[in-house]
Symmetry: C4
Subunit: 315 residues, 4 copies
């Protein structure tokens, strides 16, 4: 393992990654594969750092729907309780004559009011009931306004929509070897231009006490493309300048190697700059294999075919 | 054709276009005239790269309206089926007495509920019917929220709104010739400032095996203007440094010449950076003609007239 | 007038303003005081360059309200005509018994439906009427979605919200004179940072045939401030390097001087880059006066007072 | 106090802060801790610089709700007055028979109409009443569109969401001392990258007449990080180049020291550049203490724990 240390001084270290460099106070990988930081907040005021909006953007679809439905029924239940407190006599148009039946009618009345449907069979006749119904309709309207923002955030906000290969490979490159991974724009009709890639490397110095991490910005064969119509294979040539020079597969594990990838591009559809991050730890590196080509001319020669299923395929 | 090769080494090649350079794996033109990439995705999971939102932004208006109407009727049909499953007895207010008539009434009830109109003649009396109607009203509200995002995307999102001349011309320029095209902001009241133009050229090296493409960034007489009140004629002087130097009209076809144009500007109305792309292939080049001037002083001298119909006119 | 010509060669000319430099084909001032370009489009397809959205953003408030109301009544009239074509018999709940009364009822029904209020007294019983009402409710919903985008554009979109002094002045500055104007952020709670100012000058060369314009970028004493809490006085020192050096008041008119001002800043509230432009022609220059200070400490010393009414005051 | 003056000339002064430098015309601190400028507008046309939108974004939540409710009831009261002017006879469906009871019914009718609920028990039969109800429904719809923009602005718009330490400290740093403060991203799931920090210093020159302020941009140990997963401690080393070199605690008060902090970052969730400002005046500086570490490895070693309660803790 000592073989790769002598060249370390050539490498461009990066002390501005923002990650702590002491493994005894930093747990496991720095960045998760989905690009979020591996960090958890703790303290006495969790409501301060809880953001309903950011949470709603990140939960899976079924949880999102569940939360929306639960919120919808809870707030209607609340208004129903207020209507019950006001009393049945401030409403007209019931069909049932028993208390439980009328209670349900008030709940359905609340549903109609909150959604501003207002069929009007059951309708308020008393003063308090009428006022509260007005407030409910208004709050329904406003909460759907809020939901609009949420749906926008989940489905429509600018995003890079990149898919990265599941592994990075170390493969022959020109006369040496290179560290490579690739990515592709996932969505059709979604155009990225002016794409920049930055790759940082974290690794433990083999003889450092307490496992200090060193950070390097890797030199790339190409770190920018004008357009991203197809896949982009990012290559870091492992030459004598590279901090990875001379490292054997076992050395990657010993050094607890982690690559941080940051892709930055201009999204033509949203007219916004978008970013996506990922990371590869040493278990996600494959040695001695190459990626297979992903694209080819179509049969009729009129267009180019991008084979999405080949993104992760190596040979 | 050999005449233009000797100067090729002077030209600034650009290997960062992001386009593949091998014509045997790349079909036809790289960029379509509307600025999208000439590429098609293939694979086993098309739903992954299908984006309803991006698709809805790009289809023609009549398809957009059709999809909206079809979606609207489909979801109402679905809810009608649920109401039918619940049963006619959970609703009141029908006028028809036969099954088909009442079925239609439930469909119209669904329409009223989904749009939150709620006339209320037909209205739910049973528990299940009332609950489902509440859910339908809520989902109607939310889907209109989604439609808001879509309409925003189609009509209001920041866009460059440029119109490019249909052809580029090769015309006398100073003592040499120049490759020229022009563009204009199409929309009134839409102001672009800080406009940058980048033109890349793809052409096959005449003696390359298998037809390798070379990419060049063309030097422009002017690649930036502070404001874009009128048309902007982009000129690439074909001097000895140009990769096009010495090429005859037939050479353009033989070299499969394609120009990629990228215009980048600040949109004053949206306070956003916007981009528009186009491309010209050799069939879209005109040799030996010039563009006619597009603007002139108004009769009363108080303003400048931009003659939009002259954009493509050459002489 | 010849006095100021000899130094012209020192000035930094700017050929990238994007404005034509020939006064015989360019009418009057280049930029209007509100920052729009003094240009008009002409051609056979005005619908192509008409943008309802951009127009609605720029018309005065009373016109905006008028257009909204007219649109609202027109579309309801249209749907009323459709309902009339379907026939009175497909609706129920009328109070009047005569044709004109029922026609009006259908118009009011249309109003209720389009706004999704749906009182439901008059309501559709026939198939066609029910379907058209569903489509009307949907289109009402969608057009309000569109209106949301419009209102957002008029009232909420990122804007610099600057107010410029009505005139620029030429006043003593250090040992020479300076051309000065100033501006201030108009709105409270609206914070601009990282403010850049660029001033271009257009003037006719005094002896040019046909009145060719020359464009210069003026050197400013300070073209950037980190924050814009108060007013910012922009100063162009008229030293020997200035294209205005040695010019007398009459020379400004003869040279048809026009200043183009572009302010670019980061808007803290919207997290967006915003821009505002204006221009000063020679009639809007005042010679030999100075701006009075606009701000002072408050009586209790706890804050600073910005006197908005002094923006244009000179002495 | 004279001890620190001799080195002042080494420091990089910044005359582009945008703040006035004369203490007799500038009241108290320049920037408030929440990052807003300490300034007040005065003049004859306050409506010009009042922005309802910006105000609604900045008031506390309870005031926001109060304003919304007050607006809602006021506009409904207004429409009720119009309906009263039209007359009771243009409506049908009342339950009460007395004037006051019917007046209240019209108010509730207005509530239903404005929110587009439209129960329809009370409904317009006359021409004027029907038309005004249509206008009310439309204006209700549009004002909720406006409210959507407002709610978006308050809850969803891009923001840095940083929390700064309440105090800055002057603590030993390497062999000298350093001025330090720190900040952290407050919200979970909110990712900032490419973070830049700029710190300006305002202080009175000790012997200046009338208390002129000098502005300096402080040199920082690190002014940029690629990512902000955890806290960022900003350090200005007080070496011989620093304008603070040799100053004793009492000197900070005498010089009326104020630090302006500007943090600028890319917000990954919104794909926008965001900013946050704060300031520290001399009372908010602590001498001779250090910040305690805020993060540590989790018990199971799988993640890193950020202890939010320790942000302000020094020892």
């Amino acid at each position: 393992m000592a073989g790769f240390r002598s060249n370390r001084s050539f490498a461009r270290t990066n002390n501005d990654t923002g990650f702590g460099n002491n493994s005894t106070i930093h747990g496991d990988r720095f960045v998760l594969p989905d690009g979020t930081f591996n960090i958890r907040r703790k303290g006495k005021r969790p409501w301060e750092w809880f953001s309903l909006y950011h949470t709603m953007l990140n939960i899976p679809a079924w949880q999102f729907i569940l939360v929306v439905l639960m919120f919808f029924f809870s707030i209607n239940l609340l208004f129903t309780l207020v209507y019950l407190a006001i009393g049945f006599h401030e409403f007209t148009g019931y069909i049932p004559t028993d208390t439980w039946g009328r209670t349900k009618e008030l709940f359905y009345f609340s549903l109609e009011t909150y959604t501003t449907v207002g069929y009007g069979r059951v309708n308020p006749t008393g003063d308090l009931a009428s006022l509260v119904a007005g407030v409910e309709a208004m709050s329904g309207f406003l909460s759907f306004a809020w939901a609009t923002g949420m749906l926008y955030g989940r489905f429509v906000r600018p995003r890079a929509n990149l898919r990265f290969s599941k592994t990075a490979v170390i493969a022959p490159f020109k006369n040496i070897t290179g560290l490579m991974f690739r990515f592709v724009t996932l969505k059709e009709k979604h155009t990225l231009t002016n794409v920049h890639v930055k790759v940082n490397l974290a690794m433990k110095a083999p003889d450092a006490e307490g496992g200090q991490y060193q950070f390097y910005t890797l030199v790339l064969e190409r770190s920018h493309v004008d357009n991203l119509p197809m896949n982009f294979t990012v290559v870091h040539p492992i030459d004598e300048q590279s901090p990875l020079y001379g490292m054997q597969p076992a050395d990657f594990a010993a050094a607890d190697v982690e690559l941080f990838v940051l892709v930055n591009a201009f999204d033509d559809v949203y007219s916004a700059t978008v970013q996506q991050r990922t990371s590869y730890v040493y278990e996600e590196l494959q040695h001695g294999v190459k990626f297979v080509p992903m694209y080819q001319e179509s049969a009729d020669g009129s267009t180019t075919i991008l084979e999405m299923d080949l993104l992760d395929v190596t040979r």
